[in-house]
């Protein structure tokens, strides 16, 4: 159990114009190897044009237990949505 290769998260842009999306993870000794392995594991069938890898330990994730205080404040702010505002019926496109 020594010298374990660290875990990396893999993000792939499937084509230009789209954002990178999380595809999965893998183990690799360094960033270069992580990229090469990501190519072999996640893009064997032209699934991507660009790959990002980042060591998993560098990702800070929100805790689902705190979802309440994080996300609930947005729920009662209906005025942030266009449907909150009334328009005269005559206005067709706005």
């Amino acid at each position: 159990m020594k010298n374990n290769w660290p875990l990396w998260e893999v993000f792939v842009r499937s084509k230009n114009g789209l954002e990178h999306r999380h595809f999965g993870s893998l183990h690799a000794a360094d960033a270069e190897m992580a990229l090469e392995n990501a190519r072999d594991v996640y893009t064997r069938r032209n699934e991507g044009v660009s790959i990002w890898v980042v060591e998993s330990k560098h990702i800070t994730a929100s805790n689902p237990e705190n979802s309440g205080e994080l996300f609930e404040p947005a729920q009662d702010k209906v005025y942030r949505h266009p449907t909150f505002y009334t328009l005269p019926d005559e206005v067709k496109h706005m």
């Binding site: 159990m1 374990n4 875990l7 999965g24 993870s25 183990h27 000794a29």
Partner: protein, 326 residues
Amino acid sequence: MSEKEVKNIRTEGTRSLEEIFEQRIARDEKIEPKDWMPEKYRQTHIRQISQHAHSEIVGMLPEGNWITRAPSLRRKVALLAKVQDEAGHGLYLYSACETLGISRDELYEQLHTGKAKYSSIFNYPTITWADIGAIGWLVDGAAIINQVPLCSTSYGPYARAMVRVCKEESFHQRQGYEIMTKLANGTSEQKEMAQDALNRWWWPSLMMLGPTDAESVHTEQSMKWKLKRKTNDELRQQFIDQTVPQADLIGLTIPDPDLKWNEETGHYDFGEIDWDEFWQVVKGHGPCNKERLSARVNAWEEGEWVRDAAMAYAKKQEDKKLKKAI
């Protein structure tokens, strides 16, 4: 508060968490790695996902046996790509499993010590080229039937891995059936070889879909968690109904004298499965159990220096970068 009172609150608290959890699953919500989950859910998923990953990895061995002896370049590139896919599928699944808080090393350890199981079908030998056809057609065929429902299982990382696996799997089955079709239409020796492979792989493929519902200890809980969406017997019937016409089409005979179409049920009736054989193989007494496991253990142990060297190199590069920065 007395200790007893504290305990009561805790049990109540746990119960409600569990209730909330079960309701989420009932609503078809996905469970993600950091969400609260019952310990049994976590353990059951580690068991099933790792077993699945191990099966992909061990599954490379019987087919790898024929890569160097594939009869043409076309067959060789296809088989190589298929075996590489299986490595990929194993890796998708291992990384899904690791999100449940178990390390890759622990998973390998469980495989290498025999604590974790893999699909018993891979403990049968591949003695002729036709076996490669039979594996693709039957074993991958049965695997697809097993896996498609898992694309909508409740655990997010597992479901996402399965979507990718299923997308890639259909070429595996087609390449196998193509091999069988070609052999079945070939010389009489070739046809015999195809029939012989079907004879040997048919029953193990039926067993691969798991013990009968009456014998399956995990089915009920797994259905509730949507870790299973159809029972073993339902999956097996689906496999038979779909495969028999494919055998007819290429003039091969399913090795089951009791097999016949049942007009009333709209399904094929089939003969008794030799479950003693299944349990023997599961318990480690199949034709290749020892060979498969020792091949995995050797690959791991003999690869240790490579893993160490890669880490040493990575560290050296990192140190160099640091020195330059100073």
